[in-house]
Symmetry: C3
Subunit: 338 residues, 3 copies
């Protein structure tokens, strides 16, 4: 159960609650136990009006409290407590975190296998069947769920959350307040091979990947995403980067601070992505290029050359009835004739 | 070793075996130990003729038994036992399940870490190093292989199979007769963030994902596929949905009953997919749209708008010699000029 | 610490070091502790000049030793030891492997659950929480890190490295000198279903996948890649095949020797890929087709038909400013009109 007072305190880490002074003590001690949409929320739930197009739902809402801008605060029904902020969506984001159930105990599970040389700070939780290598360091308040593997010499910062079955290779650096989701692979060996040119064989000689993965603070990595370690230099993920599920980040990629990358995007080796980019789902970015700051790439875009100017870029063709598409695809092919 | 009698009993859960009455007791007790193609099968193996274009292989087959339609049953060689059905491919599917080796014992492995408050029904198998959270329920006859993590308050139905290294987040619902393959991530946190708009930072505020994943009955999820939990409401996978490997299903997606989704497809947040859709591999579907029932999407299609009419849709261009493709791609780009 | 003598011995497994006879005993006993780029390398590090465009960095390098061709060996500074080879990049690949830290002990961890009927050769390392099924065989010198699952009757060759959280299904064959990276899924059930055609249900009947995955020697499989077992016959990965992360290889695919496949590529069921192909990232290849030997596919290519002639093939359109792209995409769509 979360009190309105706790909610306000959480929200105000980002922005002021503008009508705070008008709330009574009784209102401040009112409690909520969850969240809901404007239409569905019960009187025990928090809701929000972020997009004015839903304002018609506001007056019928039964939510216990609702986050709104000043402009719409008058339209909140009498049975609902308005919490007035400049940016309700951001306020909802802040508040939502209070309602997550606390699953794991702040303890080290007896089944975890932890090297004696590892340095585990106070108040670190390590779940069942984790394996922590030699000389690993884990900062205060971090939490590793079950079956996490951290190879030797890797350093994890403070207040990070590593979900179950994450793999972190040796000698990597993970910052503070990082969240790695289930099954992510950080610091596996990059895909580097030299052709043997041996006429008797079609083989490849493996290039050992001796660089690291260095992940900044406040980074989020999704489920089953792969971030490979560098070949010689490091693969670098800047502060505040957020990455969705099933993304491929190849060796020696560098991603600038604040960039967001949606699911299934792939970034080939040695490419540099700028700051504050927004990269849609299933985008493909070739290797050894540079993407400027503040570039937006729409979903499934194919990027084969550097992008030097901020802005929005797209490629591909959109779904159409298959019979018509067949004709269009043939005509595209004919465009390739001299 | 499977007897013809057992085969018939299994097949008849779906369709009658039309010549059953003509079989002798000796034939019913004949045994088989595996399956094979018409051309390769030994006299200890079951085969089938599903596609008439392979009928020429039928007369030379050495299979112990063959599933055929009435039309081709006369062409089965004398040394092979014909089993006559309306749909041999479906009959083969049914029969094939009898030949899977039974790997795991019906027991709870002593290394599994199971919360005391979990309720595990009779005849449940839980393999080594599984971690089962507080108040989890697992229905009769379900089987969890090794290293499965089930967070607290999640409910798994009866007769489901959860392969090794699957992750299931807290408070999710998995139906009966569900199969989750190795490394699947169900109920991880969705990719929801609000921009902080803080000029001194390029940060994002995480939106806790408080909805669930709700998976119906007879659902199949492939290896390393990710199905994220909803933000406020639930992510919903209908009955009889089958999903291949490495698929991304974002928060608050809803997938209608009987839909099939091939590998590496991505469905962005809050999109609704109809019933009985057939979605090819590596399709990309944007967020907040609706796909009608009975839509077919060909592989790699890019869907950026709702599809309201059943039918087949495609997009993209097909591989051609690179030199010609370069010209075609330049001309496509020129189509964007005024 | 690696001596120059050790380096030479490693490099000469692939090609001669041409100035070996000119080196003094002191030079042969000189040691290095890592690798670096020409510009960055310290006098304790090995570097290389593979691409003549970096020759200007050579004369300023502080590397302890540098791999160069005869042509550029005169330009190596006096403080750096030149090692002259025909192919510096290949020599670097060979040498790099000496600098990987040795993490795991050559031992079987007491927490591993190993069936009594498994046959584990001498000098095999098995890490914490591995689960090894009945009648599994593991060849000499192979190493399994943590949480590896090997189901019953599977055979792993000699000198293979299986990283953490890899899943290998029952009855598969993994060759010698194979490397499987974290979270890879080998031999999970393929995506095979027969429609039930039951008017009262939209269901699917599962087809048990009774074939195997057979992986040759010197194969490399990336993180979270999925290789499904065959339906009746086997899925086959030839010798010297190298596969990156998050790749999907469906049931009954066959991949010829020496082929390289970049991340996020998907190959649908029963397709055959030739030898020595180079397949870019996020390529999609439809099922039941054949790709000839020595085919190159550029990233994101969509292959819907067999390719019978060696050469380079591409498809797709490349990223352009979104406003212009919208016009181009509309015009592509119009190409589909009669």
């Amino acid at each position: 159960m979360i009190t309105i007072k706790q909610l306000i305190s959480q929200i105000e880490q980002r922005q002021p609650v503008l009508n705070k002074a008008e709330l009574s003590a009784a209102q401040l001690h009112q409690t909520l136990d969850g969240v809901g949409g404007l239409y569905d929320a019960s009187n025990q739930q928090l809701s929000f009006l972020a997009d004015p197009k839903y304002v018609s739902s506001l007056k019928d809402s039964h939510a216990g409290a609702v986050l709104v801008t000043e402009q719409y605060s008058e339209q909140v029904p009498a049975t609902t407590l308005p919490l007035v902020v400049a940016t309700p969506y951001l306020a909802y984001a802040s508040a939502s975190q209070l309602f997550v159930p606390q699953l794991s105990k702040r303890a080290v599970h007896p089944t975890a296998v932890i090297a004696e040389s590892a340095i585990i700070d106070a108040d670190v939780a390590i779940g069942p069947f984790c394996v922590i290598g030699e000389r690993v360091r884990i900062g205060a308040g971090s939490r590793l769920d079950s079956h996490v593997v951290v190879e030797s010499d890797t350093c994890i910062g403070a207040h990070s959350v590593i979900k179950s079955q994450v793999f972190i290779g040796y000698n990597c650096i993970i910052g503070d307040h990082v969240r790695l989701h289930a099954g992510a692979s950080i610091g596996a060996e990059g895909f580097g091979f030299a052709p043997t040119r041996d006429p008797s064989s079609s083989g490849w000689e493996r290039i050992a990947q001796l660089g690291r993965v260095v992940i900044g603070n406040h980074v989020r990595i999704g489920s089953n995403t792969c971030i490979d370690r560098g070949a010689i230099d490091d693969t670098i993920i800047g502060d505040h980067v957020i990455i969705d599920n099933l993304v491929q980040v190849a060796h020696n990629v560098r991603i600038g601070a604040g960039t967001a990358i949606a699911a299934q995007t792939g970034i080939a080796g040695s490419t540099t992505i700028g700051k504050r980019c927004i990269i849609g789902g299933a985008v493909g970015i070739t290797g050894h290029i540079e993407i400027a700051d503040d570039v937006t790439l729409s979903g499934m875009a194919m990027v084969t050359k550097s992008i030097k100017v901020a802005g929005s870029y797209s490629s591909g063709t959109v779904a159409m009835p298959t019979a018509k598409w067949r004709r269009a695809a043939v005509r595209f092919r004919q465009l390739g004739n001299n």
